[in-house]
Amino acid sequence: MNAILTRDLTKTYSTRSKHAVKALSGVSLEVRPGEIFGLLGPNGAGKTTFIKLLLGIIHPTGGEAHVLSARIGDVGVRKRIGYLPENHRFPPYLTGGQVLSIFGRLGGMDGAARRSRIGEMLDLVEMGRWRDTKTAKYSHGMLQRLGLAHALLNDPDLLILDEPTEGLDPVGRKRFRDLLLDLRGKGKTIFLNSHILSEVERVCDRVAILNRGRLVRSGSVREMTESEHVVVVTLAEEIPPALRRQWEAVCAPISVDGLVVTATVRDTRELNRLIDEIRQHGGLIDSVVKKKSTLEELFLEAVTENVV
């Protein structure tokens, strides 16, 4: 059973000028229980629209979606969801403690459990000493940390985070990443929407890329970033240029730049034949590494392809 399942999910906004705006177009996605899933996309790609649809904050114009096996719009299932919205605005007239108390009650939490959990969560995000300060006096980073505490308050099975590290300093981000990994270890599902690709790459098991409301790519981070066919062989000594032609007979294309040989191989068998060829001709291999793309490269490629 998937934590999130969407089929052809579509959202079209009708505007006063009668030009309909398609914010999301036929998005089909699966998020498995216990994984950290990253949703990527440029501004206006439809990421926040997707999340709002999942939570019933806006209504779909087509397709269907299930969250924790319940249809979207099912109010009861939200007891098991924690959500941190992008640019959230906590009531400025409440203190941090009151925010968690009121939203905890709205989340259906019992008195004693709520009170102990509030202290626990505020300590977790290092906001304990600001508990009785009104949120109007909080900095952006403090609000973000309170937002995390709010999202985690009901010990949710599914955590939906929209740009969660915005406003956090590098130390805060590191702690946040550790927290996500810890939550995954406890079997929680995390749906993460972030612009910070390096962060997504570090913590997410799988990602999907949205562009202009369409899903343009999805898969595991490892699969997507590993260019399986490109290997980089670093030699210990220079080789005569003539050898390059012989190696090209084994696998093409091939490029030699000083001690670095970059080759494209079809499979592991071909990689071993290339290594044999190098060694037969006296080449001394220092290392063989499969070339990896960064998520950023992949993201830019996916988004640019889609634009063209």
Partner: protein, 275 residues
């Protein structure tokens, strides 16, 4: 659990305004107490105030009871007028601010239906009116009662009529707030209704019927009068109760029906809205 939490949230959102209102009410109560302490009000009343010529003291009532009843009536009218006026201003922004981006997501991501969110806000706003009106009315009633020995519990009905009147108007404000997301336009429309449209409809026989003798036109005006709420007449109910006069309940139940329909419409609009 969610409704009390929403009521608390609503009260906290207007804590400053409530404190100011209670402060003003406390000031007037203090003033009344000082007057009561330095003056023998019943003697001053009987010596200086006479029953108006167009009024007669009901049988069984003393002149002082009658005069105090008139004071109660004046206070009731004033209390309701101020309560409605101020409450509309204080509460008009509550729903639009709840619907602001970044805020509404926090509420709607909870296991809380939109109808329940609206109900919580509605009850919270009524609590503001009941609390402030109740504080002033109970305070005044106690001071007058202690000073004159005349205890007229009907004066306390002003708490109910002011709250009811506001409740009906607030259902209109909910619809307007959801449709426009603007506190200013909500205030303008509600005040236009309370101070222009409702009095015109109430006095339709003198004003609107003078425009045309057409039966259909007059029937439509009558229908509009019966459909729309009647804030002035609800407020007058308290005065009728204080004076021991017979009460016409039509303005109350027809206004309550209108309020119920508006509340249902507000829920319908809110349920369908993309936020």
């Amino acid at each position: 659990m969610s409704i009390p939490a929403l009521v608390e949230d609503t009260l906290r959102s207007r804590a400053k305004a409530i404190t100011v209102l209670l402060g003003i009410a406390a000031f007037f109560l203090l003033l009344a107490t000082i007057v009561a302490l330095v003056t023998d009000v019943p003697s001053a009343f009987t010596a200086n105030v006479t029953v108006p010529t167009d009024r007669t003291v009901p049988s069984g009532a003393s002149p002082i009871e009658f005069l105090v009843g008139m004071v109660y009536g004046g206070l009731a009218a004033l209390t309701q007028f101020v309560a409605i006026l101020v409450s509309v201003f204080i509460t008009a922004g509550i729903l639009p601010s709840t619907m602001e981006r970044g805020t509404v997501e926090l509420y709607l991501s909870k296991p809380l239906s939109r109808a329940r969110l609206l109900t919580g806000r509605f009850v919270g706003c009524l609590a503001i009116v009941a609390l402030t009106t109740g504080f002033f009315a109970i305070g005044m009633w106690t001071i007058i009662g202690l000073e004159t020995g005349v205890w007229n519990p009907a004066f306390l009905s002003v708490i109910l009529t002011a709250t009811l009147c506001f409740a009906v108007l607030y259902t209109m404000m909910m619809v307007l707030g959801i449709a426009t997301r603007s506190a200013a336009s909500t205030i303008i429309v509600v005040f236009l209704f309370v101070y222009i449209l409702a009095p015109i409809l109430r006095n339709r026989q003198g004003w609107l019927f003078a425009i045309s003798e057409n039966r259909l036109y007059r029937s439509v005006m009558d229908l509009l009068y019966y459909i729309f709420p009647k804030p002035e007449e609800i407020a007058a109910t308290a005065n009728a109760l204080i004076g021991g006069q017979s009460v016409s309940w039509m303005p109350v139940w027809s206004s309550v029906l209108f309020g119920a329909a508006m509340f249902a419409f507000a829920v319908f609009l809110f349920e369908r809205k993309d936020l």
